[in-house]
């Protein structure tokens, strides 16, 4: 039974995304409901397809209402969702519910990315749920009697409604507490992404922005493929450092470029923390293709061939175009690893090149 609606639902989602029945796309409207998450108001998108019908137009819009008010008073609350949503507190309404998972799914569909087949199996552990938590909302069947009682008691005492002679406790909805499941997530297969970026003088703001966008999407996709994922960031100019995410995207240094420094640090990281037998390793390296010397490039290729590539799922090199770089490095890499499937090189000319490049990186399902 459930299966059947899933089929209709998927078909609807596909029409909304414009993947099938493109002639219906023009009838899609984006409605929303206003919901509440904690204290914040959030907007929940409800896409709808309005089939054309013979209907009345708008001109005499109006109707019958019920309630207090003088003639000429405004009629509030004609909005959808709950009454005064967003009014009292002047809150910002956040868009929700295009979850990252959904985005990744769309990305996967758009680029026709294959599912990644994890290498090496670490013992698979399951996800368990324990009824250890308490929430303020929930179905009646999960109501926690004692907690609810305690809340009601507290409230009645505080409000002076409690009479020890006649100890009647009457819970109101706000007193209710419900049992809730606490999800315990345990890693199944592990993956680590190691981002390396050239931050030498030739990498400008635009180049970093491109890397940022691209790595965000790579990250998003890989996260849907692995339950547990670690991310490491390495920046380099003439020397390499491990940095945090913020620094990775914002740092601008000047100076020369010695790519091997990054590869060496990457290798060191793998040896210390990420045993290739337990981890699926995805190093990504972005640079503008300018290296200090051809000698260093040779050293890089040696490092890759002998140590890094055999240990990882796939080594990806993305070269962003910059005004200063020679762009030589990608050619050297391609020449050295012509027949090696584990090394993927991608040339990213501009922002429009990001999507095809993601496909190049992830299209192999490794």
């Amino acid at each position: 039974m459930v299966h059947r609606i899933d089929k209709d639902h998927n078909r609807f989602r596909e029409i909304v995304r414009g993947r099938i029945k493109k002639d219906l796309k023009k009838y899609v409207s984006s409605g929303e409901m206003i919901g509440k998450q904690g204290k914040k108001y959030v907007s929940i998108p409800i896409p709808q397809i309005n089939m054309p019908r013979f209907r009345f137009g708008k001109n005499p819009e109006g109707g019958v209402g019920q309630g207090e008010g003088e003639e000429g008073d405004p009629v509030d609350g004609d909005e959808e969702g709950e009454g005064q949503a967003g009014e009292d507190e002047g809150q910002h309404v956040l868009e929700v519910d295009v979850s990252l998972e959904e985005l990744a799914k769309i990305l996967g569909e758009e680029l026709e990315l294959p599912r990644i087949e994890p290498r090496g199996n670490k013992a698979v552990e399951t996800i368990g749920g324990a009824w250890r938590s308490i929430r303020r909302t929930g179905p009646e069947s999960l109501r926690h009697f004692k907690r609810t009682f305690a809340e009601a008691l507290k409230r009645q005492i505080a409000a002076g409604l409690y009479d020890p002679e006649d100890p009647k406790i009457i819970p109101i909805p706000a007193d209710k507490r419900f049992k809730s499941q606490k999800m315990v997530t345990q890693p199944q297969t592990n993956a680590v992404i190691i981002y390396m970026m050239d931050v030498s003088g030739s990498m400008g703001r635009e180049q970093k922005e491109m890397v940022r966008i691209e790595s965000f999407w790579l990250d998003t996709w890989l996260r849907t493929q692995y339950k547990n994922i670690e991310v490491e960031y390495i920046v380099h100019d003439a020397a390499a450092h491990i940095v945090d995410q913020h620094t990775f995207y914002h740092l601008r240094e000047s100076g020369g470029t010695k790519i091997s420094s990054a590869y060496e640090l990457c290798l060191q990281l793998m040896k210390q923390k990420y045993n290739p037998f337990e981890w699926n390793i995805y190093p990504f390296h972005f640079s503008d293709g300018d290296n200090w010397s051809s000698k260093d490039t040779e050293h890089c290729i040696d490092l890759l061939r002998d140590q890094i590539v055999p240990a990882v799922n796939q080594f990806s090199y993305g070269q962003v175009k910059s005004a200063y770089g020679s762009g030589q490095f990608i050619k050297d890499l391609q020449a050295a690893f012509k027949d090696d499937e584990r090394v993927v090189c991608s040339d990213i000319q501009d922002r429009d090149g990001i999507l095809p490049s993601i496909k190049e990186f992830l299209g192999r399902g490794k």
Partner: protein, 511 residues
Amino acid sequence: MGNLTPEMRLIHEEVKELARNYGLDTYDVVFEVVDYDELNMIASYGGFPTRYPHWRFGMEYEQLSKSYAWGLSKIYELVINNDPCYAYLMRANSLTDQKLVMAHVYGHCDFFKNNYWFSKTNRKMMDVMANHGTRIRKYMDQHGVETVERFVDSVLSLDNLIDIHSPFIKRDREPGEAPPMVQETPKIGAKDYMDRYINPPEFLEEQKQLLRDEREQHFRFPQEPTKDVLKFLLENAPLESWEQNIVAMLREEAYYFAPQGMTKIMNEGWAVYWHSKLMTQHLLQPEEVILYCDHHSGTLATSPGQVNPYKLGVELFRDIEERWDRGKFGLEFQRIEDEDVRRDWDQNLGLGREKIFEVRKIHNDVTFIDNYLEADFAADQKLYVYGFNERTRQYEILDRDWTKVKNQLLWSLTNFGQPSIYVVDGNLGGRNELYLYHDWTGVDLQFEMASETLKNVFSIWRRPVHLETREEGKPRLMSFDGKDYEFRELSPSKEASEIVGTESGKEGSQP
């Protein structure tokens, strides 16, 4: 049948017994306990889990499940007009809620069985829907999902073009022979010397004209303008047999659902009346009172700018009951002007209960409001008419005058608040073109949407199609010939509107 827990089964027995004692007359009711996701799914299919596949149900489902997940709304009851009457209960609801819903369901089920507007609905709709599902799936296998779905989409966009009164009208005289050409004028038999007095020339001319009209009417196609556009298409459009079957099936479903749209206020009002009666007078345990009140008042809550059918319905039923209990009806009462006398009027007639059973039998929302909504009620219920103020750019309360409130309500309920469209001519100019007529009542169509809909009519009729309508009172003709869409002015043609002979007249009756 059903999968109630023993505890719930006991409650069901109790509710059934009580309902019967109050005179509610229902089919057997089968309760099915489902979880929230199943309930959302069944609700998306309009209550029929075995329906044909269509993305529209998926759309419904997305909306229901999102709004449930975010705690914005939750379905309490889902009842199917069928024999036996199927009703769904949500597993996670408290026992108090289940009681309430069961009592509520008995109200609906009594209404389905006894209200006149439901008397022509198929009571084996569960089976019919399943058959429709099987057939449409089979067509999808034969002709491809895309093809069949595209056709279903076109028909769905026209499925409001039915005549909700047609199940009650005996028509379809066999299309016998055409009346003869006028040769000799039928005379009233008279002696020669009396003939020119009994059959004066004017009279003869009139008779001739009548015959000519009758003959002309016979050759008109359709003979009389019909509001059942779907039926006309079904019988006359050049459709393949599977397409014909789809039109027939979707039309049948539209007619099945129509009475529910016509009686929303009454049906909900009736169900609320009975759940509140059964709960407050019999079923409620002391510890359940707060929960019950909470949920009951949630059901009846009003929000500005909207009429809550549950609230309006139950209040009006209660008002009628009280008025007939106290004899507040009839000429004598109506003539009283003194408010105090009116308020305290009581003849101890006790006719209320009997009256509301009668009302639930013969009325629909339009006649219900038309007959029983009166000044005192509108004032008690604080009803008002609102509209958009161009100057302040907001919706404002316009009037509390009860006649205006009533007119506005009736207007919005008539024909489900949708435009009335007729087939006037199926062979326009002898070219097999379809001529539709919109009976304009003061409000324009949404033209952009209408043009798209007209294209869907074309995709079924497969010859050029036209729709006569009006824009701010001025006649317009929309045409689509398969390639080009045209929207043009029309020299005021009285013909079509006279043919249709509208009840409402041509002037705007929108309050």
